[in-house]
Symmetry: C2
Subunit: 320 residues, 2 copies
């Protein structure tokens, strides 16, 4: 079975770990969000790609969900001593090495997809990890200027990590997405897939950004295979992160049913909501999307594998 998964960071990575357990023989291609990529200290940082790579490769800091296990922080201390910022983004020493290798390869002329493949040669994540695009896409968030002078766009990481999404987001702008092309292999993988899954990643800044790359949404919609998603919203609030803030920016309520309608029946064939949201299943089905209510808390890999199996089962149901 060939499965294509669109993935953001922590949520996507943890879901993938469950999916690998549920479908150990499947060929899994992960199309990773790069809209949250950022240049820091002259280095190219790809937080979502790295979270997937580290999580599936056994190098993740399990407690934080991002960054490396056994991490040290000497470089960050020194940068602070030099007065060189930003200081709000957590880059550990081991993590820095990844960005140093990536930046050096990019400077040598390799596209991000080739660099990601090279990094994965070490991590052996057990999936094929492809960035959504080799072109630069950078998600910006429109907020009120702190000085009251109007609105300004800040990098997604600044909004998310620095400001903890503590102010309203008026718009989410995937800068460059309209001119980006899918990375080599992305459309081919979608075209050859038996099923496409949307993990419980952020529907706006993770999966939404991937879908904003011209050609990807169309390829998924046109593929004659089941497309099944898992709700990142449970009981009216995101399970993790601050997805409600960016959902509001695109005019979508923070409910499991509203997220399904946001993707739409033109894209989505099946949708899993948490048992806490079982009452909303009818609303999703009315929108033309088959819906099941199952436990959606990724408390451990076994629970996550059961979620992944439910998604695959729903895909089979849709297919039949």
């Amino acid at each position: 079975m060939r499965i294509v998964v669109l993935a953001g960071g922590i949520g996507g990575a943890r879901f993938l770990r469950g999916l690998k357990q549920a479908a150990p023989d499947a060929e899994i291609t992960v199309v990773g969000n790069t809209g949250d990529d950022i240049h820091l200290f002259g280095l190219k940082v790809c937080p979502d790609l790295d979270t997937v790579m580290y999580t599936l490769g056994g190098g993740i800091d399990e407690e934080k969900g991002w960054g490396r296990t056994g991490e040290t922080w000497s470089v960050k201390e020194e940068l602070a001593a030099y007065g060189v910022g930003p200081d709000w983004f957590g880059l550990g020493d081991r993590d820095f090495a990844t960005h140093i290798v990536r930046t050096q390869m990019l400077a040598a002329g390799y596209p991000l997809s080739a660099v990601t493949e090279a990094l994965c040669a070490r991590w052996r994540p057990g999936v094929r990890l492809i960035p959504m695009s080799d072109d630069r896409v950078e998600t910006h968030v429109l907020i009120d200027s702190p000085d009251g002078s109007g609105r300004k766009a800040v990098h997604f990481q600044e909004y998310w990590v620095r400001h903890r999404a503590s102010m309203p987001a008026h718009a989410v702008l995937p800068v460059g997405a309209d001119r980006a092309a899918p990375a080599p292999g992305v459309l081919e993988a979608i075209g050859a897939a038996d099923v496409v899954l949307f993990p419980p990643s952020n529907p706006v800044v993770s999966i939404g950004t991937i879908l904003a790359v011209p050609g990807i949404r169309e390829a998924i919609a046109d593929a004659a295979v089941p497309v099944v998603g898992l709700s990142p919203v449970v009981g009216g609030a995101p399970v993790r992160g601050m997805a409600d803030k960016v959902l509001a920016a695109v005019g979508v309520e923070s409910t499991a049913a509203a997220v399904a309608r946001h993707y739409g029946s033109g894209l989505l064939d099946g949708w899993l909501v948490d048992t806490a949201d079982a009452a909303s299943a009818a609303e999703v089905e009315e929108a033309g999307i088959r819906c099941r209510a199952v436990p959606l808390m990724m408390t451990d890999t076994d629970a996550t594998a059961r979620m992944a199996q439910e998604a695959l089962d729903l895909a089979e149901e849709v297919r039949a």
Copy 2:
């Protein structure tokens, strides 16, 4: 008193620490060798400048004489895990931060002299540290090809650090020196100096490279001030490092007197040899260079300060 010192790495840095103690009120300008600079992992590394900066700023690993105290090695471990080399150059995590800041500033368009000043704003070395040039100069060493197919040029660091100078050096090539200009402030400092000192640094690859930048040798020779050097060779062998190998490449014997003659009376007014080499003082004086034999072992800062004082005393003697 205004003192200009041409400095390489460990020897120059330790001498400077003694000089600062011997002449606490002097304005000291250090013209640093950049011929051993190297690009590693996409980062600009300036080993000699950093050794001076760390040593005088209190950040040096005293035992090794290079690199940072309290160093950690996570980045290096990770680069090795990625299979990305070279693995023979010792870059610690704290040290990496310096190169990251430097590379970012250079990429932003600042010349190396401005970058060095910015880095020194943190370290406060108590001297003005200027790279010999803002232009790229890279010392290469001509060696026999390991496969016997002839000769090949390798980067100085490869010869020195990787191969521990274990094979003959047929030539030392300061690539780019002939097209390099002295960095802003170098010629002005020499022109305004009361004395110019050559510490017991490597006369070929450290001080020799600085003197190879067009204009610097001439400025020193033309300055009507005493120029005094300290022999890095004691008892027929370099006190530290492998200077004998590169001295042989330029046809100079590894003796205190031969090094003095190599600099020549057109440049050098005074020369300090170790008491072990007292017998060679006459030979140096015959070459037109005033010579004194004093203890030249930099065993600690006090001993080094006495050496620096001897150099300043000899300068006064020359002046009078």
